[in-house]
Amino acid sequence: MNLPFYTQLINLLAALLLLLAFAMLTQRRILSLINLFALQGFVLVLSTLVVAYSTHQSHLYYSALLTLILKVLFLPWIMHRLIHALNVRWDVETLIDIPATMLIGIVLVIFAFNLAAPISQFAGTITKSTLGIATASILLSFLMMITRRKAVSQVIGFLTMENGLFFAATSATYGMPMVVELGIALDVLVGSLIFGVFFFHIRETFESLDIHHLEKLKER
């Protein structure tokens, strides 16, 4: 194996991304979850910068900057404030216990690599081998949303999924057009603000952020 330096670097960052995704899957404390989320965003920024530098795609610098501001600084800051305001530090309960979740996660990663193998053969980018990791991290964050009970951790799952999508876009096609990226960034921002408002209302109504209270909302 004699890969170019940049490719090795990107592969390393991709591996870190996947590792962080697993770490988030196992993490029970919400505060650490947010820190992990910020860290994952930072890894994403690094990998985007490496891709931008090595392929001379100047617009990727902008999206790296955008990611840095939004996902590494602004959103975690909002989350921290929210946690303090709502006073929820713990997310003890998961629906499935953590070892079982890990096993399902491993199955998902294998599935994702299988899925990505034929596609990455056609991709002409230097990042082609990371497509499997991107898909895997999307599926893992989805899994996190399913297994968690507290509304906050579900929102973090949602944002992590967006990280995975962003990584997939960079690795498959050197990123999406700037307009689309800006649009998604705005969506994420507005989405998390709305989530924040909802948290307060959910807690006000049920005196808890546990989402099983929402089960009463169905029709019959």
């Binding site: 599935f111 989805f142 399913i146 009970r149 579900q154 929402l214 169905k218």
Partner: protein, 670 residues
């Protein structure tokens, strides 16, 4: 034509946009109801008459098209106006002119907020109908078709505080959407995966026999739902009575006709290559619709419901004309086909005019007396003499009595059916006369029904204690009815002019018109095929009738002069006469109810012989509810009950659904 000169299409688009603008003005100035009713609606009427002129102009002019600077990026709106669109624009403009004039008077006392909304919905409704008629791509057609359905839904539910009206609106919206889905699917079949939804592309697309038939059936049922064809007619008798009368007039007179337009546009123009089997389908549905409509009309005692069932009947007659035309065109007899098409189109125009007039008359009665039940009316001719005269003209026209317009188009339909010996297939040859017989039967029953309506409502003694003496309709209302009544007379007395215009439409659509001999006849005589076979001159007929009437009158005057004795009518020697002894609307329909008993679903409650206060109750219902609509509703309920089990209420389960779907899709994509 000079390119810098104004084209019909530009005029039509401008006028339609002005309509929308008027509606918005009405909404903006809803604090000044006087201004809305006496400025916006007359201005709308002015636009109507200009649009009618544009339509007439477009029938003779070559087709003109344009691309509007609206719509989605890369998907602009195409519009085009040809002879067929022109004819229907003429119909829309001409009829809505009278209705808008009537509306000025009818809505003058409406509450300000309601009036503002009414003005918006009314004018948007008109403009959407105009855009449906000039649309030249499936996209604009469907958008305006839906806006037409929605604006008319809001008009139907104007008096939404009554639950009955909300229910009527719901049924209307439901059937309209089922129809719209069917039309959408039809366009999908027609375009066959080319990605281009302009009518030009749809016209050019070659369809295999099977898919052409599928497209025909989808179009036929989609537009049939809007037109009120059996068995999709159920919304009509519910929605028309619920809507304010000018709106009922507009819906029945014009909106049903846009469905006929759509049917002709899609089947003749876009699908093309008509087969006689399709024609036979249309013909049989038309005959069933027509007979069914009139039978149920006879059973009604709500005047507007009765008129709604007559709309069902007349749509049947129009479909018979079009069906005949399709049978002839499909078996290679374009001249006879042109006759059928012209008969159908002429009846479309005539029905719009006289049904508009009758609904306005019903509205005038409702406005001045508050009555819609025929059994409570009576003797109204003394209070509403003008309305009575106009209603009489409308009633004579719908009963297809010469010299009015209804007769001309039904007679043309009969003439078209008399061309049946041209056909090769003996089955069809023998079916056509049966359909013609059904048409004759429903014509006669219509006559009976309007003898009932006119006799019970306007003649005799009034049977209901009214709080105050009914007032005659206002000048605006009378002007609206006068316009439509005059149109009934003009279309009846001078049919040749309009037939000439319709011949242009037919030439443009199926490359065939009436025979040369027919077109060579002068303005006095209407000759459908050749003068050796049949000809009709309404003016000569009118003169003969007038002379005979005058002579009889004079003779009677001479013979009985001086021996006149004034007494109560229909006295029959009884010492005392009350209004309870008059024949009622339900009583009038009784013989038909007996003869056609299996058609109806009749509930009777007969009082016991020793009941001190005997009450006899009876209701007649539509069987379609039970054998068609109830099972569908039950099945839907069953299905949604099972689908509802998916809804657990747990967010994790919902997320799991999306997750599994994602996984499944990924596996498939692999």
């Amino acid at each position: 034509m000079d390119a810098s000169f104004l084209q019909p299409i530009e005029a039509a688009v401008t006028l339609s946009v002005i309509w929308i603008g008027l509606g918005l003005i009405g909404l903006a100035f809803m604090r000044a109801p006087r201004l809305v009713s006496h400025a916006v609606f007359p201005a709308g009427a002015l636009v109507s008459i200009l649009l009618a002129a544009t339509g007439l102009w477009a029938i003779g002019a070559p087709p003109s098209a344009a691309i509007l600077p609206a719509g989605l990026p890369d998907l602009p709106f195409h519009v085009r106006i040809d002879a067929l669109s022109g004819f229907f624009l003429l119909l829309l403009g001409g009829v809505s002119f009278g209705i808008s004039l009537f509306a000025v008077g009818y809505f003058r006392d409406t509450e300000a907020a309601t009036l503002g909304q009414l003005s918006l919905q009314y004018h948007v409704f008109l403009a959407s109908m105009a855009f449906v008629l000039i649309a030249d791509d499936a996209y604009l057609f469907m958008v305006t078709w839906e806006s037409m359905a929605l604006s008319s839904y809001f008009l139907v539910t104007t008096e939404h505080h009554e639950e009955r009206n909300r229910k009527a609106g719901f049924i209307y919206l439901l059937v309209a959407h089922i129809g719209a889905i069917s039309i959408l699917l039809c366009f999908g079949v027609l375009h066959g995966g080319h990605g281009d939804y302009t009518f030009e592309a749809l016209r050019a697309a070659e369809l295999s026999g099977f898919w052409a038939t599928v497209a025909f059936l989808l179009a036929f049922f989609g537009f049939g739902a809007k037109a009120g064809m059996l068995p999709l007619h159920v919304w009509l008798p519910e929605a028309h009575p619920a809507a304010p009368s000018p709106v009922s007039a507009l819906m029945s007179g014009v909106m049903l006709k846009t469905a006929i337009y759509g049917m002709i546009r899609v089947i003749y123009d876009l699908i093309g290559g008509i087969r006689w089997e399709w024609g036979l389908t249309v013909l049989l549905f038309g005959a069933a619709t027509s007979l069914f409509g009139v039978l149920f009309a006879l059973m009604q005692h709500d005047l507007k419901r009765l008129l709604a069932y007559h709309s069902v009947e007349n749509i049947g007659i129009i479909l018979i004309g079009i069906g005949l035309s399709m049978v002839f065109v499909g078996s290679g007899h374009p001249v006879a086909g042109a006759l059928g098409l012209i008969a159908g189109l002429y009846h479309t125009l005539n029905h719009a005019v006289f049904k508009g007039l009758l609904f306005l008359g019903a509205g005038a009665i409702l406005k001045s007396t508050g009555l819609r039940n025929l059994n409570e009316m009576g003797g109204l001719i003394r209070y509403l003499p003008h309305t009575a005269l106009y209603f009489l003209i409308g009633a004579l026209a719908i009963s297809a009595l010469p010299p009015l317009n209804g007769f001309v188009s039904e007679w043309l339909t009969f003439q078209a059916s008399l061309q049946a010996p041209l056909l090769e297939s003996s089955v069809v040859r023998s079916l056509v006369p049966i359909v013609a017989a059904v048409l004759a039967l429903s014509g006669a029953l219509t006559g009976m029904c309007f003898v009932k309506v006119y006799g019970v409502a306007f003649l005799g003694q009034h049977r209901h204690e009214l709080a105050e003496k009914p007032r005659e309709a206002s000048r605006w209302e009378r002007a609206g009815m006068l316009w439509l009544a005059a149109a009934c007379l003009a279309l009846g007395l001078l049919p040749v002019f309009m037939i000439g215009q319709l011949n242009n439409v037919s030439q443009a659509l199926i490359n065939a018109g009436l025979s040369n001999e027919a077109m060579a006849s002068d303005w006095l005589w209407l000759v459908p095929t050749s003068s050796a076979q049949a000809s009709y001159s309404p003016i000569v007929f009118l003169l003969v009738i007038a002379v005979v009437f005058e002579l009889t009158y004079l003779v009677v005057r001479q013979v009985y002069h001086g021996r006149l004795r004034r007494s109560d009518p229909w006295d029959c020697g009884y010492p005392e006469q009350t209004s309870r002894m008059e024949d009622t609307a339900d009583g009038f329909g009784q013989p038909v109810r007996q003869i056609f008993a299996p058609v109806f679903l009749i509930h009777r409650e007969i009082p016991r012989a020793d009941d001190p206060q005997p009450v006899f109750k009876q209701s007649v219902q539509d069987r379609h509810w039970y054998w068609l609509y109830r099972p569908i509703a039950r099945f839907t309920e069953f299905l949604s009950g099972h689908v509802g089990k998916l809804q657990q209420g747990r967010i994790s389960i919902y997320l799991l659904y999306s997750f599994l779907t994602l996984i499944a899709l990924l596996v498939f994509a692999q």
